[in-house]
Chain length 337, copies 2
């Protein structure tokens, strides 16, 4: 079955499981708390719908992993919902921490409900994730549920460690390229590797397979982030310089930027002078490309992707689900925005 047909079956089930989890807050007196979470998840309010929901990549990855490892993906739904809730809890708090007014074209939760309610709504989403994964005991067993829960908890700590570095880096003018990887491992790779590892746990894979899936998720997460970094500077939206989407104007310490800084050339000199304005974006992006940062980042992204697919191929036969998983990886890494 193709990725499209698998997604068509899985995505509605993921939404159902998410709704089941979040509906815990939908009781008398707590309706507005439910509304905040449902708004953030793209279910209600102005602009709700598929675009506001995001791509549900992590839960899809988890379910496809369970299938690829020979398990029943439906049994993994509680974990898929949990992973997506963790991802969204972190977005709610990130938006406050980054002072972002918009997410997926809509007002962020804190802009709409204020700081206090938004911090607390994020905490509620975090709690719901932990409650959601517990339901694995109904679809699998207590021991599988406990095992999966442990992986989820550990990944949450990694997530906050990555975010700690990200916030710290904003004020650090003297970052080396080494600083990049621990941040990205926490912010992006931890949750993707938890998705694939938990997918394998639900399929009751042996240790070797489980490790390979975990590695696959981690490498894919790193590749995904480097691709994101490329698009943040040389993607269509970023290049026009008219949107706030360019990582150059926001001063984000992405991999191409850190590479450029390490060269101490023209790009680095301009960076040191202060914020980059929208009308300079395409010139500076061209300069950074000229200095080799685009090729460098593209090579790393390709290399990570190759390694990710290799990790997968080593332990999983080329079944339908693995092909779909490879297709999803491909889609993530070839996207243009």
């Amino acid at each position: 079955m193709s990725l499209d047909s698998m997604s068509e079956i899985m995505l509605p089930k993921i939404e159902d499981e998410l709704k089941r989890a979040v509906s815990l807050t939908d009781s008398e007196g707590y309706g507005e708390l439910y509304n905040m979470l449902a708004y953030h998840l793209g279910w209600i309010g102005a602009g709700s719908g598929a675009k506001a929901r995001g791509k549900r990549i992590r839960p899809l990855m988890l379910l496809l992993t369970t299938s690829a490892a020979g398990g029943d993906w439906k049994a993994a739904l509680p974990a898929a919902a949990a992973i997506e809730l963790i991802h969204n809890f972190s977005l709610i708090h990130d938006d406050i921490e980054d002072d972002s007014p918009l997410r997926r074209g809509r007002q962020t939760l804190w802009k709409k409900w204020g700081l206090a309610q938004a911090i607390n709504a994020g905490d509620a989403m975090f709690s719901l994730a932990h409650i959601a994964i517990i339901r694995l005991e109904e679809t699998t067993s207590k021991l599988v549920a406990f095992d999966a829960t442990k992986i989820l908890h550990a990944s949450c700590l990694r997530l906050t460690q990555g975010q700690f570095l990200d916030i710290s880096y904003e004020e650090d003018g003297n970052l080396s390229m080494d600083a990049y990887w621990p941040m990205v491992e926490g912010k992006t790779a931890a949750l993707l590797s938890a998705s694939t590892e938990i997918g394998a746990i639900v399929a009751q894979s042996n240790n070797q397979t489980r490790k390979a899936f975990k590695e696959f998720g981690k490498l894919l997460g790193l590749a995904f982030q480097t691709k994101d970094d490329l698009l943040g500077i040389w993607g269509n939206a970023a290049l026009t310089g008219k949107s706030a989407a360019s990582d150059l104007t926001s001063g984000k310490k992405s991999l191409p930027v850190l590479y450029g800084l390490s060269l101490k050339g023209a790009f680095s000199n301009r960076w040191a002078e202060g914020p980059i304005f929208p009308d300079e974006v395409s010139d500076i992006a061209r300069q950074l490309e000229y200095e080799g940062a685009r090729e460098y980042t593209q090579n790393i992204s390709d290399d990570l992707t190759r390694k990710a697919l290799l990790a997968l191929a080593e332990v999983v036969p080329k079944n339908d689900a693995r092909i779909t998983l490879e297709e999803l990886a491909d889609q993530l890494l070839k996207r243009q925005q």
Copy 2:
């Protein structure tokens, strides 16, 4: 053994277990994240020490419950640490949500490290709590650990629901007395009842005993909060009107205030006119007492305490640990500040 001698043995063990849990963040590159958590927990920085740490009531309650139920309190230490970490995570976020500059006489985490790092440090503390309780599998069994984890997760959601109400109430000028209980059940009782329930789970109590302990914790939590409400208006610090500690100047919708508002008398009229200033505090407190709010709240507090101790007495023999638990309850409810 008396409460004092039990505390003297247990408190250092609680600190050790907390340090074991929090030290997960104390690795290269993450030192400042560790410092934030260690500062908040009262271990380091200006003003560190016993006073900055708080009383560790919840973990003590948990360990004493395990003992009273015939279990080994040392086996419950991972859960005790987890409960205290949850409590402190919620304080870190509450301080931001309430815009509080001080906690236990020291700068709050967000005042010292800024909003972004403080939100994230709270999330890290939350994650550490979940990782901490997992260690019960080493001291008890996977099944006990899983059971305890579930109770912890559920109480975290209740905590955020209570906080949601608390924030909502700030702007609600038309609150009835019914609004009080669901807020306090979430904000205060949920974590205390989780402490006693998990204490009983570690002792592998039967369902009836477990329920009774849960009820004991819940009722004690409610009694504790009503007592806190009394001290917030008629405690020494509050009455002088010189400190910011009076619930009258901060406009907190505590039980005596809601009672006074329900009477629609002189107190209610003054409240409707706007914020209360420090130099009015003792007059208004006297008026509120005259209208019966102090006696009303004291009666409710006494009643809840009586019911809490009854719940306990029904299932637990009058062993040493139960007597200590009663002593702790007594201390909480007779305190003058």
